[in-house]
Symmetry: C2
């Protein structure tokens, strides 16, 4: 008998009616002869309400206690969903993270799952029960409740699917799958039937937003077949797996983009290797995420390094770098704002030389100046002026054959 893990996010369980709907959906799967595990998040805005309570007490609450507080959100949902199954004539058992045997590191607010002791879940599934598991939470070896950080419920679902050797893990959400690009900006954007883990990982990291990168990474490492589909319809969604069986001919699988990027360029008087480490250590200590890094050293110009960050981190980045100026040893700092990042992703790139050249050619055809470039085996990102982001994304989407013929 095969096992399936279904995960429903906060908006899909926001009201008692929606919770009953989730139960009905899971019952349909069971009636097809499957063992069903359901992973749920906190209802709607519950987490925000809990964060509000904490901030009324303290601006810097202890992280362990934040985990204790936030874990109640999913606990409410699992109990209500188990009640919903009973109401519909089916037996279910709810499980908190610790009851489901989800053991994590002792890192409050951002713990990684170490082991899952599946005995209780296996026993319940063997007895024919629906298992309803609280996402986002676990327990460390000392018995402290931990939470898994952003995207934690996705990670719970994938980890359970791996531990229970499930046939697949379905992520139900408020979009109906993974798209070639964001339909709000790109006219020809369309839903993908399939995508590889690596491509999804790049898209997830680039802010496509439907799935958390940690969950995708976990699925890839354990070869868990994932799918992303709508909680409001029966459409099949997008399947994420190691080997793609269709659309092989596509070099580029998607176009992602992100506005509100700033670039900082720091110059030194002489090529002093320590400076580079000092800059990024300083930024990391202040939890400022750096994305693209470009260093250029030549004999003609003083050495410099450029890097991109989110615009809302810019003021703090400038402040902490200026404060550490003597320590870092730089001579000048330039800042450029009003930038955006546009990326093309596809595992076909690695075997197709000239993809980058073609990308730059397309952008030149659109009069888009390229400010920074970053490449990986399956991704090329460029930083461009914000006002060219939409134009660039549409041009790339069309040129790489992602737009259906009828739209283009």
């Amino acid at each position: 008998m095969t096992t399936i893990v279904m995960k429903f996010g906060g908006t899909s369980v926001a009201t008692p009616e929606k919770i009953l709907g989730v139960a009905k959906r899971a019952i349909r799967e069971k009636e097809q002869g499957k063992r069903v595990v359901i992973v749920v998040s906190a209802m709607g805005k519950t987490t925000d309400a809990l964060l509000g309570l904490a901030s009324d007490i303290s601006q810097e609450p202890p992280k362990r206690e934040m985990d204790m507080l936030l874990a109640t959100g999913e606990q409410v949902t699992i109990s209500l969903l188990a009640m919903a199954f009973k109401k519909l004539g089916h037996d279910a058992l709810s499980f908190t993270g610790w009851q489901a045997g989800i053991e994590t590191e002792s890192v409050p607010r951002n713990a990684r799952i170490e082991t899952i002791h599946t005995k209780r879940l296996e026993d319940a599934l063997d007895s024919g029960l629906f298992c309803v598991v609280a996402g986002f939470q676990g327990v460390d070896r000392s018995g402290n409740i931990t939470t898994l950080g952003r995207g934690g419920s996705d990670t719970t679902a994938v980890a359970l699917a791996a531990a229970l050797k499930a046939e697949k893990c379905e992520i139900y959400t408020d979009v109906d799958g993974v798209y070639t690009s964001d339909p709000r900006y790109v006219t020809g954007a369309r839903k993908l039937e399939q995508i590889s883990y690596d491509e999804m990982l790049e898209l997830a990291n680039l802010g496509a937003g439907v799935l958390h990168p940690r969950a995708v990474e976990f699925a890839k490492n354990n070869l868990v077949p994932l799918s992303v589909r709508a909680s409001y319809s029966d459409e099949p969604g997008t399947t994420i797996q190691e080997v793609i069986t269709v659309e092989k001919n596509l070099i580029v699988r998607g176009v992602a983009f992100e506005p509100d990027i700033a670039r900082i360029t720091v110059s030194y008087s002489k090529p002093f290797n320590g400076s580079l480490a000092n800059i990024f250590t300083t930024l990391a200590q202040h939890l400022i995420d750096v994305d693209i890094i470009v260093q250029s050293i030549s004999d003609e110009f003083p050495p410099s390094v450029s890097f991109s960050i989110k615009e809302d981190s810019l003021e703090e980045a400038k402040r902490v770098l200026s404060e550490a100026r003597g320590h870092i040893g730089f001579t000048a700092m330039d800042v450029e704002t009003g930038l955006a990042k546009v990326s093309i992703v596809g595992s076909g790139m690695v075997s197709n030389p000239g993809v980058a050249a073609r990308m730059f050619d397309i952008l030149r055809g659109q009069d888009v100046p390229v400010k920074m470039v970053s490449t990986s085996e399956i991704k090329i990102s460029v930083v461009v002026p914000s006002d060219t982001m939409k134009r660039s994304a549409n041009a790339l989407h069309d040129a790489y054959g992602l737009t259906p013929a009828t739209v283009q």
Copy 2:
């Protein structure tokens, strides 16, 4: 170093400000060199909100899942209180029921505590931490979250005090102690400095309401010194302990009363012992609480039994008894409503003959007809017409010397 357990109910932790106030109060105890455990209930109306959510899903939710749901209420409070300690510069750890080692029977919604594994709490106390424990909840041997039923947080506090061999257990509430009677009805009612477990048990069972009978029973069985005091003032409150050191001369320690009582009288055609068991088994199966039971069998009249119940259970009691009429075997059922129960409580009664006679004499002096009587070693209860309840209580309070001379 002595340990103290402090318990704060829902109204005492209803807002972040009140939670900070609870922390301040506990810090004062620690500064006097004590190890401090704080037991808390769910904030204000949280439990009602959770019950509302459940009833939106199902009118008969599974009890195990109700426990899962309700237990989140206290978990929110403990995390916030631990944050409040940190905010005030002190270290604390919060503990859910299972983390505090509170092991219960597998009886959802009404579990009794079986064992407390105190190691984690002892370790935290030894490290100089405040221990903040969720009241009302525990875990059974299979790892299911259970709740302790009404008054559960009081029971948690007393059980922890016993397990940790605490110097005392303080119940902070919205009244400043145990009174000789209800001041809203009895002019001369005053706060008692001390009261024995047995007296408190009778008063608690009679609806004095400040402490749950199960908690008092637990305290009595383990000789835990209890006190009831106000969360809003520094007054010492009332101490509840085995041996009373003052006010020895008082035969009666308190006058309790309860309105909205109904009496049902059932007559049989012949003295058939099975009928008696059948009546009360039928009522118990429908969870109808029966209080006073009086049976009279004589040669002159047909045998009958009278019993008192709360008026709001009357319709259901009449219905289930009528339905079971053939099975029970009764000939007639009479009902009287508009009654109240008035009781005098005091451990001095057992060694003072004639207390009952005096009580009836006092009531006769007030023209109060006595409908039913029930006695224990330290309590006499009478059922009287509702409109004589207040008059009866005041007369008894005065006559037994409970009213201070200046008031009387």
